[in-house]
Amino acid sequence: MLKRAVAVIHIPDNLSQKIEFLLGSSDAISNEPIEIFSEQRVAFLAQLSRLLLADPVGKSMPDIAAFAYWCRQANLERMRERYDPKSRLQMGLGLTFHICPANVPVNFAFSMAFGLLSGNSCVLRLPSKPSATIDLLASAIQKQLNEPCYQHLRQDLVLMRFDRDDEIVKFLISIADGRIIWGGDETVAHMRSFPSKPRSREVAFPDRYSLCLLEPVCILEMGKQAFDRFCFALYNDIYLMDQSACSSPQLIAWIGEPKEVEAAQRKLWPEVVKIARQKYPLQAVHVIDKFTAVCRNSIANLGVQSIERNTNVLYRIQLSFLDKHQDECRGYFGTIHEVVLPHLDALAPIVSERYQTLTVQGIDHTVIRQWITRNRLRGIDRVVPVGRALDMSILWDGYDLIGSLSRVVDL
């Protein structure tokens, strides 16, 4: 009988010497796919979720808690139902190679979950920058893999670190059936310069721009409780990632009458500032970055009418019109661009393929849907309520991640 082709990959010694393996090894990496949302993988992630939530340290770290909450059993089941894996056969591609982001350490765990749930083995290159989040997650994953019941997963998961090294990357891309690249335009372009398998797939996360739509009357009419919740939600979207995540809102577009907008702004911003002053650890170096950025903005952006500086916690850059390249005017650490528009269509001309997340309050989803189709928008991949800008989803950056990393067997 013919021996089955060995589905185990070896990393050549000259390369593996330069690699630090946090999990897995260089001589036994599987590239065998499995069906999407397999029972064992769902169980693995659900158990990981329990493990993390049971750890007081893990539970206290917001990014780890968010991941643990995301991959708890009930949520995974909900996701699974969407793909209907029982009635149709969908398999992973084989081996996925992931370049994970340094500045949002927890995203490696999401990346891993996407790779595993879509039926692939995963080789993840973790950032070299020290991170408590990564240490804690990696040790929890390791602990769980040591359990006999997850033995079969050991060849399916490799966590590694290596210094910038094109030879290693070149090799890993050459063996990968799918690659997931978290990073800006530059990283994505760099990874594309390496040859890959003819059938390999790519999920790339380049630089994106996100914005928020607000309807003034809805904010004016909110009762105290709803308003407090709303302010907190907006605070989270803006401040939790220092406004540096691709889904953090940069622009607030008010759709309505200038008078009502003004009243809503007067109600809204002092409250958001109050929360930020209590909760946001603004550092002196952030202030210098912010202040330099608004000064540059004052010079460069002709649309800037005035800049409202409420202490240094929030800078509100008032725009008299939207620049065609609005997506290049970014702010961090609580720097918001604001514009007042008479109707939604006035926003359409600036929406390029760079636009990712639209957070919305007070505007109906049907209206948004019609707006996107009517204007044939090239961008905007997510529309979520205010407060959910940073929630990771299996639909991200316009990809159905499971669909993108698997193949459908027509049976």
């Binding site: 760099h190 000064c295 004052s298």
Partner: protein
């Protein structure tokens, strides 16, 4: 309003003698004049003023608008015709590869020299002294790399004569040359200049670890420039002085603080370890969270005013250094003006975002 022609007089002001009230009113009128001059002459400065400040109410020195010093790394800010520029100064700094660009016309450049020599005269006397530079000749030879170190050495060379370099191009002390310099100027006071971390690393530490000493008792050491490249080595000023004295015998040691964006208006350290504002400069310490001025004793961001910059809008700058204001007019050294200490650069924070993965 003070015009350009009267500015020459400014250089004749007494360096450390004016009581605060008098100094304030003199400096305020210069600041008001400079602010409106730059607003009229520099479009970038005007744009910032219009959007971020209420310029009607510059009623005291605290309300003079300030720019973040890093802005000069990103924007070309100039308040004279480009044809009037006689010199462009650059500084690398620490944030990435961007370089500050400071444009000087004849007038501003001359003011820098005048003011600097007036301040220095207070510490080393009116005569030029033999100058020993704690650095190597190579540092000033390569004009392509016009660093802060080059600028500092060349700038201070003006106050010395018969300049000698203590270090060879490999940064080792040439004891023979130093001894030669000392015996040539036996009995005279000498001026010694060097960058703080160079003095520390290649003079103090070298002498200590080789069990050597040099007799520089007659020297007046002027050092500055911070520890940017050697943050891990930074020692506290008292330790610096004590150990320097241990291997060289020097007792007259003056640190100075200043930035290339306000060349000339330097803050000299007095015998009691405080940095002093001269009559041409003022310092405020601001709360990073609000930019409100902080009272004496509380640490915050250092803002610097200088009467010199006329060819570029650098008369009021927010630095990236943290410091503490200790008082005004009542330092034990007898010099008038505000006095303060620098604590160091603001701590770099962790940058966050999705797009930092492989290439950067």
């Amino acid at each position: 309003m003070l015009g350009k022609e009267t500015l020459g007089d400014i250089a004749t002001w007494p360096v450390y003698e004016l009581p605060q009230a008098r100094k304030q009113s003199l400096l305020l009128s210069v600041m008001q004049d400079l602010t409106s001059h730059h607003a009229n002459s520099c479009p970038g400065y005007r744009a910032i003023l219009q959007k971020l400040w209420n310029i009607e109410d510059i009623t005291n020195l605290e309300t003079v608008p300030f720019l973040p010093v890093r802005l000069f790394k990103h924007e070309r800010l100039i308040s004279v015709e480009p044809t009037e520029v006689v010199k462009t100064m650059t500084s690398s700094g620490t944030s990435g590869t961007a370089v500050s660009q400071i444009f000087l016309d004849k007038h501003t450049s001359a003011m820098q020299v005048k003011v600097l020599s007036r301040i220095m005269g207070e510490f080393i006397g009116p005569k030029r002294l033999p100058l020993l530079v704690i650095d190597c000749r190579k540092t000033i030879a390569d004009r392509q790399k016009f660093s802060a170190r080059t600028a500092g050495i060349l700038g201070f060379s003006v106050f010395g004569r018969e300049v000698e370099f203590a270090l060879d191009d490999d940064m080792s002390i040439n004891e023979e040359r130093v001894m030669g310099f000392l015996s040539k100027h036996a009995g005279e006071s000498i001026l010694i200049f060097g960058f703080t971390f160079i003095v520390w690393l290649y003079l103090v530490r070298w002498l200590e670890s080789n069990g050597r000493s040099l007799n520089l008792e007659r020297g007046i050491l002027i050092h500055g420039g911070g520890w940017k490249q050697l943050q891990s080595q930074a020692v506290d000023p008292e330790d610096f002085k004590r150990r320097l004295k241990g291997v060289t015998g020097i007792t007259r040691i003056h640190n100075y603080y200043g930035m290339v964006e306000q060349t000339g208006s330097i803050f000299m350290e007095c015998e009691h370890g405080y940095l002093h504002s001269s009559v041409w400069s003022e310092v405020f310490v601001r709360d990073p969270m609000s930019f409100d001025p902080l009272p004496f004793g509380q640490p915050g961001l250092i803002q610097l005013l200088s009467a010199i910059p006329r060819s570029y809008p650098g008369h009021s700058l927010l630095s990236e250094d943290e410091g503490v204001l200790h008082g005004i007019d009542n330092c034990k050294c007898g010099r008038k003006g505000s006095y303060f200490k620098v604590l160091g650069r603001v701590q770099d924070a962790e940058a966050r975002g999705c797009s930092d993965t492989y290439t950067r």
